[in-house]
């Protein structure tokens, strides 16, 4: 992850600025970024534990990718911009304004209570990989047609970039010059399939050239570099200069999801190496150097994160449990007679199938 590979970096793994680098984020903003990163990591641990106890469904941690997600999300303005997620980007949803309580409810099988609030410009998480990319392009294009301000951030991984939807979405975005940032998190693993099996291209971002727009590759474990590169892409989108494909080179430091067992395929030495590049430790070292980080400060921030998570879990527990009748809610604006009859039958009311 050095400049000679074309990978943009501001902070070295030691936390020291690269020679000549000037951070685009002021200290307060970096502290804010670190706060989101620590909250994300604390939530990963809590959610994994709750999944093991059967209280949460399948869960995909962000672990190791916090700088990529937080740095990119902070470069947008959630009041006017849209976020179109995959599913491994929790801190971005929170930055966009999704209450943590709602996310917890969705994870624990109560999506009704976990509904995205009306004023949060966020789409639901997308399980079909890369299927969200054409949707993201459509939103960006629609804002453009209607002359409305706003750009779109969409996330996906290097594995998802092998899907046809990635190609179709990038191609269309280039043609209409959509105000969008395609943020590819190259975390080196698509479940057990290594990065080299997804593409022979040196960098995934190289593909942008084929679509007629800018591609950038950035050290995804470097909060400052990710923010800066994304910020430039947002400005490009706002100027009407079209899309950007950003490849954030990072590492999935945990399992794909809670059903996965990376010990079957992941070389332990690779994981050890990745741990040396931990994105949180890098920011902490940077702030420590600037006299803004101490054991006490760290303790305080981690304590605050733990309390925020506990409060959100407590809030979530107060939500009414899902009801079977809700199976039939929001299928259509109005159920068809056949659907209505099926609902009535399920609820034990009179009515035949048909």
């Amino acid at each position: 992850m050095a400049d000679q590979d074309g990978v943009y970096q501001v902070l070295q793994p030691s936390g020291k600025l690269k020679a000549g680098a000037k951070p685009a984020l002021d200290d307060e903003f970096v502290l804010e970024g670190l706060r989101w990163m620590l909250l994300s990591r604390a939530f990963d641990a809590k959610a994994t534990a709750l999944q093991r106890q059967g209280k949460f469904g399948v869960f995909s941690p962000v672990l190791g990718q916090e700088a990529a997600v937080v740095g990119s999300a902070l470069a947008f303005d959630p009041r006017i911009d849209w976020l179109v997620p995959q599913y491994r980007e929790l801190p971005a949803y929170l930055i966009w304004g999704l209450p943590l309580r709602n996310h917890i409810l969705t994870l624990s099988g109560n999506p009704v209570a976990g509904r995205i609030p009306d004023d949060v410009k966020l789409l639901p998480t997308q399980v079909a990989l890369a299927a969200q990319l054409p949707h993201a392009v459509g939103i960006a294009w629609g804002l453009q047609i209607q002359g409305r301000e706003g750009a779109v951030l969409t996330y996906f991984g290097e594995g998802a970039s092998s899907e046809g939807d990635f190609h179709e979405a990038c191609n269309l975005a280039g043609v209409v010059k959509a105000p969008i940032v395609f943020f590819l998190q190259n975390n080196q693993w698509a479940i057990s399939t290594p990065r080299a099996y997804q593409s022979a291209a040196a960098h995934f971002s190289d593909r942008a050239a084929g679509y007629g727009f800018e591609g950038r590759v950035v050290d995804g474990n470097d909060l400052l570099a990710v923010y800066e590169v994304t910020r430039e892409a947002v400005e490009r989108a706002r100027r009407g200069d079209g899309p950007t494909l950003i490849e954030a080179v990072t590492y999935r430091m945990s399992f794909h999801n809670t059903t996965d067992n990376p010990s079957r395929y992941q070389p332990p030495e690779e994981l050890e190496e990745a741990r040396l590049l931990d994105p949180i430790e890098r920011v902490e070292a940077y702030l420590r150097e600037r006299g803004l980080w101490s054991v006490e400060r760290e303790k305080e921030m981690k304590q605050a994160a733990a309390e925020e998570i506990e409060a959100a879990i407590a809030e979530a527990q107060k939500a009414p449990p899902p009801q079977p009748s809700q199976i039939f809610d929001n299928v259509f604006a109005e159920l068809t007679p056949r659907q209505a009859a099926q609902r009535d039958e399920m609820l034990g009311r009179s009515g035949d199938d048909g």
Binding site: V84, P111, V112, R115, I116, D118, L123, P124, A128, A131, L133, P134, H135, A136, V137, G138, I139, A140, W141, G142, L143, I145, Q146, R148, G164, D165, E168, A169, N171, L172, V175, D329, N330, V331, F332, A333, T336, P337, R338, Q339, D352, D353, G354
Partner: protein
């Protein structure tokens, strides 16, 4: 009131909706300067401009997928897929995405999107163009499916589709696009979904069809009348929602029924119609319900398609067997 072809009726519906509501836009292959390969959008790019009549790259999944985003941003997209067979290139963006956004988002993101595509054989088109795959979408439970057979319904159902707050797959009968004209009101009117049309009344037998198969049913009914058998012909108009009541009323009256469709027999939508009728009208039936469909093979070469598609001859024989059973 003008006499219009189905093509002209569809054009009138889209144009009227675009004039009425500036959020309505058209996107698809060749919909702009060419006016669509069937000219359904002829003249629209001149009238409404490129941003609302958009020639997309040749990529069906992103036509449907971007329509989803366009709708979320506030537009009302009418997406054209050049032939229904090519919706397979967009299949994952239809059932899995188009049909699930309102549900997945718990009502936050309804999708007022119409996806139009012509269907059916009989015009000697290359492979995939004529495939009648409508039943495959019925298993995607949150997409409405309209299957008009004539100019009046084409306009009224399309206006209904565009104004519907939910996704509609609007399947057009390609073979009948320019075959004959019928009176179509100049102003806008809506044909409600879920109301089948009784094309012709009769007491002896019910013939059920949709899309271009309605024409086969009508011609078969005329032949049967020559033999003194009065067939009632029903045009479903929409598969989702399905008008069970009209079907049950008719079959209760006639006691005999033949279902006709262009899709291959097995697991075609005819199977759903028959299963519904045996549940709802079993004791009114005097004979097993017959189905006349295409065969369970891939679509044959164009030179053989007339032997493969349901024909008047096959429908009449099935009807006679049913009535005489």
């Amino acid at each position: 009131m003008a006499e219009l072809t189905i093509i002209e009726a569809i054009r009138a519906a889209i144009q009227g909706e675009m004039e009425r509501d500036e959020r309505v836009m058209v996107l698809g292959l060749d919909v702009g300067r060419l006016g669509g390969v069937f000219r359904t959008t002829d003249g629209m790019i001149e009238k409404f401009g490129r941003s609302r009549v958009f020639d997309t790259p040749l990529a069906e999944a992103s036509i449907v997928g971007s329509a989803i985003g366009l709708a979320i941003s506030g537009m009302i997209p009418v997406a054209e897929i050049q032939f229904l067979g090519f919706t397979h290139q967009a299949f994952h963006q239809m059932g899995d995405q188009l049909g699930r956004f309102r549900y997945r988002s718990r009502g936050r993101y309804p999708l007022p999107i119409t996806v139009r595509a012509p269907m059916g054989g009989g015009t000697k088109t290359p492979e995939f163009h004529p495939d009648a795959i409508e039943a495959q979408f019925v298993q995607s439970p949150a997409i409405k499916i309209a299957v008009p057979s004539n100019p009046y319904d084409a306009k009224g159902l399309l206006i209904e589709a565009i104004r519907d707050p939910d996704p509609v797959l609007f399947i057009e009968p390609e073979r009948l696009y320019r075959k004959g004209r019928a009176e179509v009101p100049d102003d806008d009117y809506r044909v409600p979904f879920g109301k089948a049309r009784i094309v012709r009344e009769g007491d002896d037998l019910t013939l059920i069809g949709w899309s271009a198969a309605v024409e086969v049913c009508e011609q078969s009914a005329a032949k049967l009348a020559e033999q003194g058998i009065q067939a009632e012909v029903i045009d479903l108009r929409t598969l989702v929602p399905l008008d069970v009541e009209t079907l049950v009323t008719s079959v209760t009256k006639t006691g005999h029924c033949v279902v006709v469709h262009e899709a291959p027999l097995s697991a075609g939508f005819g199977a759903e119609v028959v299963a519904t009728l045996q549940q709802e009208a079993f004791y009114a039936l005097d004979a097993p319900i017959a189905r006349v469909a295409s065969f369970d093979t891939p679509y044959p070469p164009a030179s053989l398609e007339t032997a493969w598609l349901p024909s008047v001859g096959r429908v009449v024989s099935a009807a006679l067997r049913t009535v005489k059973a």
